[in-house]
């Protein structure tokens, strides 16, 4: 029992540290990717290749004066960024980071908890994320913040529907809601995006909208809303919002990889499983998963520096008139295919 508790605590701490570390270096990576795509050099002053830039940014955030507007609701003003950060980190709990590690005769799965309704849990946490933004925008008592928060909440609520419907089709083919099992099913066979190309596309588009990333970054567009829901925020509270966005990006790309791109499974894994030790395989799987997730994050940035922002009505059109009908069509097509192939 003690071993179990210690192992879980270590795993939680490691996942926490990895999430924060990846988010910190995502800020650096984002600036570098942006620079390379615009034929620039990017940050290179802090440390070799500018690798200490995230530390400098973090230090700057902490040193900045903390301003809480007098007209704001102080409790909610502080609650907003805390909620955003909390929900961003909570979704990391159910992600399977690799296979089992065996020590002695006990095996430790590299997943904090494999709840059998994993996908529903993700949805619960993601929809909770909108509260952080909404409360922050509302408590600021600033019309730009409020507009940004309204945009963010309407956008997230609209795209959650299409996202959920895209997953329904996936759940139909896999027959389970547990993330661990969905990943395990993909081992040694085709990954799910082959069976669900349309669902995968819809899910990725919705993930962009859920994380408020370009081309769906209307909630924080500087040109129209000064900064959106975090206009009034300063110091590390602003840092929390920005940081939560990057953690969200990391987690959502981890979920995309788990659901559609085989999770921790190596491509052609069944060809090598009998030759290598289980623990080595688990470490390889973890590295493979991490590579896939980093590629996902790169994809997020790549899209951001390519596609211009949507107009608000275009955003709503895409969400309600295109993605939702497409997702419903996807469910129908999946059902018909499964019936035709005799899988039900």
């Amino acid at each position: 029992m003690l071993v179990f508790v210690i192992y879980k605590i270590i795993l939680v701490l490691v996942v926490f540290a990895i999430s924060l570390g990846v988010a910190a270096y995502s800020t650096y990576a984002e600036r570098k990717v942006a620079a390379f795509m615009q034929d620039r050099v990017g940050p290179d002053r802090a440390g070799p290749f500018g690798l200490l830039q995230p530390l400098a940014d973090g230090l700057k955030m902490f040193m900045k004066e903390e301003i809480i507007p007098t007209v704001s609701n102080k409790f909610l003003f502080i609650l907003g960024p805390s909620l955003a950060m909390l929900t961003a980190l909570m979704a990391g709990v159910i992600i399977p980071w690799g296979g089992n590690i065996t020590m002695g005769n006990t095996s430790f799965p590299l997943q904090i908890t494999d709840i059998n309704i994993g996908i529903l849990y993700v949805f619960g946490v993601v929809s909770f994320g909108v509260y952080g933004i909404m409360i922050g925008g509302w408590a600021s008592n600033n019309k730009y913040s409020l507009l940004g928060a309204l945009r963010a909440s309407s956008q997230m609520i609209s795209y959650e529907i299409a996202m959920g419907l895209a997953i329904v089709a996936l759940v139909m083919t896999t027959g389970t809601l547990s993330l661990g099992e969905i990943v395990a099913q993909q081992s040694g066979t085709w990954f799910n995006f082959v069976y669900q190309p349309l669902g995968c596309l819809i899910f990725i588009i919705c993930a962009f909208a859920e994380t408020n990333r370009a081309p769906f970054d209307l909630p924080e567009c500087e040109t129209e809303l000064v900064g959106g829901y975090h206009t009034e925020y300063s110091s590390m509270k602003l840092g929390f919002y920005l940081f939560a966005e990057y953690i969200n990006m990391f987690i959502s790309s981890a979920i995309i990889v788990s659901l559609y791109f085989g999770g921790y499974n190596l491509p052609f894994q069944n060809l090598i499983t009998q030759y290598i030790d289980g623990n080595v395989l688990s470490i390889l799987q973890f590295l493979c998963f991490f590579t896939k997730v980093l590629m996902g994050i790169f994809f997020f940035m790549w899209v951001r520096w390519t596609i211009p922002r949507f107009r608000y009505d275009q955003l709503m059109n895409l969400g309600w008139k295109i993605l939702i009908p497409l997702a419903i069509f996807n469910i129908l097509a999946t059902g018909v295919m499964m019936y035709a192939l005799g899988k039900v």
């Binding site: 390379f36 050099v41 790549w302 390519t306 596609i307």
Partner: protein, 203 residues
């Protein structure tokens, strides 16, 4: 008239299915950004790498010395008059005995100041100077934190005796000939003009 062959006529028409899907267009765009990702960057890391400046770049001024190392400036004030930004001020003084190796002529500038924040680096001071004393160089005026640090006195403007500043690219033979050409109005003193007028009357 057509200047380039990049002209595209914009026609408003119904979009085809591929265009309506947007996905092909997005893919094209992403291929373009990916190509740029691997391109050599167009910028340079400035303080370490410096772009080559033109030989006639108009940067920080220098007050030249002559071959013996004496200051050429005689504080005539023509540069200050020519300056459109009114960045130059000076105070003249008389050369004392024993200072012949310091100042070329009997009159010299005791104070000579250029406000680098006012200066527009047009080069008119250089054009106005009859003594070949002031030149603009390819050195860039460094940044500073206080406004009064930008008022450059003689300590920063007069060239170091041991390290003369090379201005041959700005002071070419053409420039010298042009400056000495007495038939051009800009080089004529009042006496020259009188002489030209009287010559004309004789003819």
């Amino acid at each position: 008239m057509q200047l380039t062959n990049r002209k595209k006529v914009v026609v408003k028409k119904e979009m085809s299915l591929a265009e309506k899907l947007y996905l092909p267009a997005i893919t094209n765009g992403m291929v373009i950004t990916l190509k740029h990702f691997f391109k050599k960057s167009a910028t340079v890391k400035y303080p370490e790498v410096k772009r080559e400046l033109s030989g006639t770049y108009r940067g920080q001024h220098v007050l030249k010395r002559d071959e013996q190392g004496a200051e050429r400036c005689t504080a005539c004030g023509l540069c200050a008059v020519a300056c459109p930004a009114e960045a130059i001020t000076m105070e003249a003084g008389e050369r004392k005995k024993g200072e012949e190796n310091l100042y070329r002529e009997e009159k010299y500038a005791v104070i000579y100041e250029i406000n680098m924040l006012r200066c527009i680096f047009c080069g008119l001071c250089e054009e106005a100077c009859p003594k070949e004393a002031i030149f603009l160089t390819d050195r860039i005026v460094p940044t500073d934190l206080k406004r009064d640090e930008f008022i450059y006195g003689k300590d920063k403007l007069v060239e170091d005796i041991k390290q003369p500043v090379d201005v041959t690219k700005r002071q070419t033979q053409n420039v010298l000939d042009f400056k000495k050409d007495k038939t051009k109005g800009h080089n004529q003193t009042w006496a020259d003009k009188q002489k030209l007028l009287s010559d004309k009357k004789h003819h």
